[in-house]
Amino acid sequence: MNGPLRHARHLIRVAALFVGLFVVFLFAKAALVPKDFGLYGHYRPSALAANTTRELSYAGRAACVDCHSDVEESRKGSKHARIGCEACHGPLARHAADPGAQAPVKPDPRAFCLGCHAQNVARPATFKQVDAEHAQGEPCSTCHGPHAPEKGPKP
């Protein structure tokens, strides 16, 4: 090589090395980055769908009513009518899909109601709470039905 760059051959090689590395990086990037990355924002769009694939544990109250319209009927007008069935019965999506696949366990009538109704000063004053004496040692179900508790024991 001649001219002013005659003594810069080593520098040119270094520069070439860097350019080469950079090109390799670009190729690697092109090959490895998912093709649709950044379509909606800085993320893989497939992650959106991936987040929707989880299976349900809770079917939602609308599903229960299809088969248990009698229960829904008995709850009408009750203060408990607004409560989702699975708040008390636990996750029952598999039962709702196939009643035989999952047998619902009945809530324990002694401790269960107090989870919501036990006296607690942090609870809003407007929410009806009962102390230990209220039940007089009986299970709540003796005097209250679970689905429409104001109406006395199970209708």
């Binding site: 929707t52 989880r54 544990s57 607004r82 699975e86 609870r123």
Partner: protein, 253 residues
């Protein structure tokens, strides 16, 4: 002017006006390209949650349901949890707060009635911030704001660097010990895209938590927001939180 140049100028203008991420979010919201589930168009939704402290009874059903629904590991890992506040002497900078096991098993009575203090429950979850500090710091785009306003995690892309955990002001993120990646409330994205409500809202007996769709004109949230004084958590941090609290006390942080 050629089409592409006009496009470019338009987007450049938007980038100048809005911040980068907001501009991007804006684009995806208006274009509504995101078709994430059959029959669900992300364009038509902008999710958030309404939390009414005045009716929360601290039963812990939401915490339990969340763990069940989302397979959250046992132990100190919560996508949602409930705190109990006890504020003596009216306004206090030092409230007594507890959240035994995240409120999963409810709250045993701890205070006496008539002790001159106020006491209440505060359900917490990811605030699904519109300008999320956690999304901002993720180095690879493994957590992001979806076109319908939900902050999600890409579990198969997350490095587990935990920077986002540090960046969340609300303590909503944790590292899932089974996968070594970050996890957080997804607003039950698998449910809301199917037209269901979240697991926590499903089981809430008093309606203290309500999933809201701010883009749906028929959603009662609009009426609620108009007629109630609502607040978000740590508003001074300007995170664009979409968890609106009714009856939030000044002592809550």
């Amino acid at each position: 002017m050629s089409e592409s140049r006009r496009d470019f100028l338009a987007s450049a203008g938007k980038l100048l006006l809005l911040t980068g991420p907001a501009a991007l979010a804006f684009d995806f919201v208006v274009s509504g390209r995101a078709q994430v589930a059959p029959g669900y168009s992300a364009r038509e939704h902008w999710w958030g949650m309404l939390i009414d402290i005045e009716v929360c009874i601290g039963c812990g059903k939401c915490v339990k349901a969340c763990k069940e629904e989302n397979g959250v590991p046992e132990g100190p890992y919560f996508r949602t949890w409930v705190e109990r506040y006890h504020v003596a002497g009216g306004v206090s900078e030092h409230p007594d707060v507890d959240s035994p096991n995240g409120g999963l098993d409810g709250f045993r009575e701890r205070y006496r009635a008539g002790d001159g203090a106020k006491s209440f429950f505060v359900p917490k979850l990811c605030n699904h911030c519109a300008t999320s500090p956690c999304v901002q710091v993720c180095p690879v785009g493994a957590t992001f704001e979806s076109p319908d306003g939900v902050v999600l995690v890409d579990k198969d892309y997350c490095l587990g660097c935990r920077y986002c955990v540090q960046a969340c002001p609300y303590g909503c993120r944790f590292i899932d010990p089974r996968t070594n990646t970050v996890d957080k409330c997804s607003l039950c994205y698998h449910r809301i895209t199917k037209g269901l409500t979240t697991a926590c809202c499903e089981v809430c007996p008093t309606g203290a938590r309500q999933l809201v769709d701010l883009k749906d004109p028929k959603d009662p949230v609009h009426e609620f927001l108009r007629t109630h004084k609502v607040q978000v958590l740590k508003p001074q941090l300007a995170t664009g939180s979409k968890a609106y609290y009714n009856g939030l006390d000044g002592s809550v942080r």
